[in-house]
Amino acid sequence: MMKACSGPLRRTFQMIPVEKIRRPYHHLFLSAVVILAGTTLSACVTSRVEHIKESTTGIAEGEAIVIMAKSYHLGNETEAKFIRCVGDSMGRGREGLRVIPNQEFVDALFPWFEPRTAPAETKGLPALMSRPGVAETIKDKGVRYVVWLDGDTDKTAGGGSMSCAVGPGGGGCFGFAWWQNDSEYEATVWDLDGLEDAGTVSADVSGTSFLPAIVVPVPLIARTQAKACKGLADQLRLFIVADEEV
């Protein structure tokens, strides 16, 4: 196979001007520009973050929070990476809160916070706290608030068309595609000190992503989930820390 290729290819190679030999580097440069553009440019998103406070909040030094997903037995489909994102965002920075990893919390209180057994309402908290070892474990861990996340990110619409082709001389795409994502999340905050519902924080972010392509596709992605994560985490931190009147 190598022999069959060597003759004709050698001749072809000798006829190529020096400028054209450099073309692969131009392609590399172009690709780098496209990747950079794709990662730095993003489509617009519309976001709405709001909260409803039902009791006075506040957190003392040493107290912690836990971010949990509402049970999938109740039909919740909150993504694991979103829960991690909110937890990381709330724990990050100089004013970050102490966030206990939810698996650590669930394991320490097994079997009372499993998807099947976790209390669905604050009404179940007094009974839960009276179970052997539960109140002590929560106190040992310093958990003051449990934040229950509900919601998910969905693709709500989309359209356009794009075709790509690859040949011996290279490849390329032509067309235009778009899709709309909607990230709707709600965080319910339970105060384990007063065994009551402290309130809810919700984030609704929607955005349309575009993918125009003339030879090279340039993605303009609406990062709705990331925006919802940041918005929700920032608002939750304010909600918990601010010792404001209801």
């Binding site: 190598m2 060597s6 050698r10 190679f13 000798q14 049970s71 999938y72 037995h73 109740l74 039909g75 919740n76 489909e77 993504e79 694991a80 394991d107 320490a108 209180l109 097994f110 079997p111 009372w112 499993e114 998807p115 099947r116 057994t117 179970r131 052997p132 070892g133 539960v134 474990t137």
Partner: protein, 254 residues
């Protein structure tokens, strides 16, 4: 197969410098491509997932003051489930000894005195209040291609039979456990493994919560104590202690 040196030397006579190196790259590219194609073909052939140690945390519960033994069926030592997803790949899930490990750990936490006996052992010769015989009725799962989501789900239907100290069956309790896990960067196998572990953990939570209510196992301690204190001629009315719990409706709305 030509060596690397031979490949370079074989093209050293060519008038274009670097030609040999170019071919060398091309050969490696071909090999890498072949490996990628082989990997993809292997991937289409099926996935094999095995569970090793699905340990559960120490539960926060009050132990039941009774002496209990468990007898596991042979399938508990090597339970393998195979399924060909229509038009797609074949999945094999090997639960290995994970069920035995899980139930041993679970019952060990639930009862003050617990032992595992062999299948051939006669439970009536042992000083126990109850004998538990768990088994697997069914194992099912769904992969993202089927559910049109990025989730793996596992359903396990266990059956728990309970016998009193005289070997009379007093309860026959079917339970349905459910676990769900999203596809992660660690791959499909890991997600399916996680879903299976969550289903087993779900079963453990359900057993802790409902076992006594559904089977009345704690009453066997009193019955056993009564039997020991009464004269041997008296035969306890075991018929009144037969429970056949209604099947739990799986909460698999997700």
């Amino acid at each position: 197969m030509p060596t690397v040196q031979a490949l370079i030397q074989g093209h050293a006579g060519a008038s274009i410098p670097g030609w040999g190196l170019g071919n060398l790259k091309s050969i490696w590219l071909k090999r890498i491509s072949a490996a990628v194609v082989a990997a993809i073909l292997c991937g289409c052939g099926g996935s094999q997932v095995s569970l090793q140690d699905p340990s559960i945390p120490e539960p926060l519960i009050d132990q039941l003051q009774m002496s209990v033994a468990a007898r596991y069926p042979v399938a508990f030592d090597h339970f393998v489930h195979e399924e060909q997803v229509i038009g797609k790949e074949k999945w094999t899930i090997d639960l290995g000894k994970s069920n035995r490990l899980l139930f041993t750990q679970l019952f060990g936490s639930m009862f003050t005195d617990f032992m595992v006996i062999e299948e051939s052992s006669n439970a009536q010769d042992l000083p126990i209040d109850a004998l538990i015989e768990p088994s697997i009725d069914a194992f099912e799962f769904s992969v993202p291609n089927q559910s049109q989501t990025d989730e793996f789900a596992v359903w396990i239907r266990y059956r728990i039979k309970i016998f009193d100290s005289e070997g009379i069956q007093v309860a026959n309790w079917p339970i349905a456990a459910y676990g769900k896990s999203q596809t992660t960067t660690f791959g499909s196998d890991e997600a399916l493994r996680r879903a299976a572990v969550l289903a087993m953990r779900d079963a453990a939570a359900l057993i802790i919560l409902q076992m006594d209510k559904s089977t009345g196992i704690s009453k066997l301690r009193d019955a056993s104590a009564r039997r020991n204190s009464e004269p041997p001629a008296v035969i306890p009315n075991d018929e009144s202690m037969q429970w056949t719990a209604a099947e739990d409706i799986p909460d698999d709305s997700g």
